[in-house]
């Protein structure tokens, strides 16, 4: 595929991600921070986000598995994930976090467990979408083009 086609794909894919709410304006902000001197900035932030999220999802699973759930701890973890997803523009993940915190507030274990499942799902989705996005960008670079839209 040539550069022009790849770029069209990238634009279409990006629009889709925004349209479906996977990403929001903050992602655009991050892209603005990327330049020739920092060509991998967004991917680097995403990598940190993935690592952080996976750690938190594990902690959440552990904490919710207990006889007596420490909602304070659970809430603190969800808050962290809410923050980092907001900073990268992972809107759907952030929204689940908000609902999750409501359940923490109500000390509703079942609600929390449901949210955890939803979080895992949304996280997996946004991770795969972002990886696809970065892969497209790499293909454009390899084909001699510049991914910046």
């Amino acid at each position: 595929m040539d550069v022009v086609q790849l770029k069209r794909q990238l634009i279409a894919f990006t629009e889709l991600l925004f349209g479906e709410g996977f990403l929001d304006e903050q992602f655009n902000q991050l892209q603005q921070l990327q330049d020739e001197n920092n060509p991998n900035f967004v991917a680097e932030v995403a990598t940190l986000f993935f690592e952080d999220s996976e750690r938190i999802l594990n902690e959440l699973a552990n904490n919710l598995d207990k006889q007596s759930v420490d909602f304070k701890k659970v809430d603190a973890h969800v808050h962290q994930l809410k923050g980092s997803s907001s900073s990268i523009g992972a809107q759907r993940v952030q929204r689940v976090c908000i609902i999750f915190r409501n359940f923490c507030n109500e000390r509703n274990v079942e609600g929390c467990l449901k949210c955890l499942q939803q979080l895992k799902h949304e996280y997996a989705l946004v991770k795969s979408k972002l990886e696809a996005l970065f892969s497209l960008e790499q293909q454009i670079l390899a084909a001699g083009g510049s991914p910046s839209i």
Binding site: D75, A76, H79, S84
Partner: protein, 224 residues
Amino acid sequence: MARNGAFPRRRASEGADWLDLCQANVEEAHVLAVDDSLVDRKVIERLLKISSFKVTAVDSGLRALQFLGLDGKKSPIDFHSLKVDLIITDYCMPGMTGYELLKRIKGSSALREIPVVVMSSENVVARIDRCLEEGAEDFIVKPVKLSDVRRLKDYMVRGCQPNSGGKNHQKRKQLHGSATSSSSPLPSVSSSRSRSPLVDTPAAPCSPSSLESPTRRLRMTSCE
């Protein structure tokens, strides 16, 4: 406390210093960023660098104090060479909160002139007021944007007086306009700060244990 009209971090006596500052490039300004989140630290660091600031990013209030020489281990001479021109800190951090850090800085004769800006993901009147009263220059709602960071230069270039706590009516009015309290029915006009209808948090600054009553609205307000 008498104000000399010079830039915040300089002592009144030094005429030569004042001249340096007049000529000083904003580009040389050094910002200390404090945030426990790795993702946020990376983003704020980049935001600051791209806006031509020098950056030191630390992950806790304690480390910030160590860097500033407030932990008693550094001598005053060492401290002055660090030249921090502005501190930007997250509000909600484990251990020492940004609010507590703010208080420590404003409570220190060596450091109180350094402008401090607080960041938070929650846009709550009580929290904003608390920070401004304690001497913060500004309160930025996360996620932080380029336009937020560009504004930081205002706190250094204009030689504005550091917030003398409680007197920053203008700033408070401005921030209230976009923040929400329990009495306001709707989030205000789209500014970077209005994101969701939030109820005032009466609780202690940063405790996730201050779980709120179910009567609060949709979005989470209990501190982070």
